[in-house]
Amino acid sequence: MADHIEIGRLLRSETTGFVFGCKLDQIDSPSFGALVRVRMDDHYQIFGLIYDIQVQDDGLVRQLITSDTLANEAWLDTRGNRTVPVEIGVLALGYMLDGQVSHLLPPRPPLSLDEIFLCTPAEIAAFTGAGRMGYLRHVLRDQDKPVEELLAAHLKQARDVQSAAGNPAWFEAALEEVIALLKDDYPTLMRVLGAVDELELARDRQSELNGRLG
């Protein structure tokens, strides 16, 4: 797999997700809703979705805010040299073992200081195109997270990749899967489709759904 972009190292983890850290000057790479992977060994890697990006503060940052004339050099120093990490939360979506994608939760979480990489288009296409998109249920499970926005950001990224890979039908199938997963939770479904609509991705689907639900 080409274009491996390392975006940070693991701080802490559990079965359903993990948090990794990167320096402030690395923050251009990871983005909300991006698919990432952790390579555990030659045979096993874990996939996840970035759901939260937190820029930590500390005493000095809080103090510098009070300055009327923050020097450029101090600004660069704080971002480039100081150990104030950006903490990035990732929702575990599945794993790949010996080349086979699974949308079940990973058997064991990643370990401290494991490297985190942004997924390449090929990796996104391989992970999202495998099986019956069962990984979407992990996104919808935790209502404490911004599920609608997260799903919309992910669907947009995956749709672009799948379309470029010659699979434009993927997006329709993904929306069908979301609708199926949320068939008993109309309010959430409406919020999800509203967020998707916000991206001008599925305006037609929502009106069609409104018709189906009467």
Partner: protein
């Protein structure tokens, strides 16, 4: 409960009364000192000759000596040049402890370089030194004392500052937190003499490289100008009666400068120091100092800045240092302390976690070489238990 707050409460009233009396005495003595200051602001030659006569009879005299500026002058801060190179260094240490599993000592030096006006990211320097086992464990006293470690740390801090600042573009300023001279603990007199020539070489290195070395003393408690005024007053009949040989109360220099350095950025006159050791490193390296108001219109805050004589000799150097410190303290907003000094402290400081990791590394190496490793003292073991959640 570790402190009996009820007993403390009972003593508070008397404590506050004593403090009030103390402050009243201070205010009275301060007014006397201010009168001397006003009377003797200008006759600098006369003051220097008074000090000279006093030194002849009192070899232990330690006081300020005016240079060529009226002693009650206030000089406003000027413009910082377009570019100035700054480097600040700080040191910290892990002291050896007989309560630990292995005796070891680490000296950690951190520094941050800023090319102000360049728009470039500052550069961070860091060096950690595990002190030789033979220097840590001594035949006569056992473990090396904390005083000797502190002396070694202070020397290393200045040495690294000189090394790392050698290639700085001009004009260049190197700074440390605290006084310029190494702290002389009476118990470390022998050790101090042993490393004095090294310190002299470091001071010369700054001069050779034309890097303006300074020591920044925040919230200074010195009384060098007060001592000078007392010397002057005791030889002047108009003031003698108010200045007995033993002073009634201690007033610090900042109290005198409070009404002089009223504008933010102001600096005082530059003074040299007369003391038994002030000429030890040569006239060019003799410590000079000035006070500076690094506060704001609403909040005065005075710092003392020490520089060697060769820096103090040119007023343009002093103006550059004043402007640079003003700029550095502005970066920190409502807590006016030089940004780079704070950053170098951040880089240098050794956390408890790092302390433990170094100890574990040493223990592992000892075990690999079949060197016996002790256990922590029972006192330390019990303390560790408390830190882990004991009450």
């Amino acid at each position: 409960m570790p402190v009996n707050l009820v007993e403390i409460q009972k003593s508070l009233s008397s404590f506050a009364d004593q403090a009030k009396t103390h402050f009243e005495q201070e205010a009275i003595y301060l007014r006397e000192l201010e009168q001397v200051l006003t009377s003797y602001a200008d006759p600098l030659d006369q003051i220097r000759s008074v000090v000279g006569r006093e030194v002849d009879t009192n070899a232990r005299l330690r006081c300020a000596v005016p240079t060529d500026e009226a002693i009650n002058t206030a000089i406003p801060v000027g413009q910082l040049p377009e570019r100035v190179a700054l480097l600040a260094a700080d040191g910290s240490q892990i002291n050896p402890s007989r309560h630990a599993r292995v005796p070891f000592c680490v000296i950690n030096i951190g520094a941050v370089e800023m090319l102000r006006g360049s728009g470039q990211m500052p550069k961070v320097y860091q060096e950690s030194q595990l002190l030789d086992y033979d220097r840590t464990t001594l035949p006569d006293t056992g473990l090396i004392s904390e005083g000797r470690v502190a002396l070694a740390r202070d020397l290393a801090e200045r040495q690294k500052l000189a090394d790392w600042s050698a290639e700085l573009p001009q004009p260049a300023i190197a700074m440390i937190d605290g006084p310029l001279e190494l702290y002389r603990d009476v118990q470390q007199a022998t050790e101090f003499e042993r490393i004095a020539w090294q310190f002299q070489a470091v001071l010369e290195q700054f001069r050779r490289n034309n890097v303006f070395l300074l020591g920044y003393v925040d919230k200074p408690g010195s009384d060098l100008l007060v001592s000078l005024l007392e010397v002057i007053a005791r030889q002047d009949k108009a003031f003698q009666s108010s200045f007995p040989k033993d002073r009634p109360v201690r007033v610090v220099d900042t109290a005198l400068f409070k009404d002089i350095l009223t504008a933010p950025g102001d600096r005082s006159a530059v003074f040299s120091v007369s003391s038994p050791t002030s000429g030890k490193f040569g006239n060019d390296q003799q410590v000079h100092f000035f006070f500076m108001n690094v506060g704001s219109e609403d909040f005065q805050h005075l710092a003392r800045v020490e520089v060697p004589a060769w820096v103090a000799g040119d007023k343009a150097n002093i103006a550059l240092i004043q402007a640079a410190l003003w700029d550095q303290t502005r970066i920190m907003g409502t807590k006016p302390y030089p940004y780079l000094l704070h950053r170098s402290h951040e880089v240098a400081v050794v956390s408890l976690d790092e302390h433990r990791r170094v100890e574990e590394m040493i223990v592992s190496e000892f075990l690999r070489h079949h060197i016996p490793v002790g256990s922590p003292s029972q006192k330390q073991a019990v303390k560790d238990l408390m830190q882990d959640g004991g009450k």
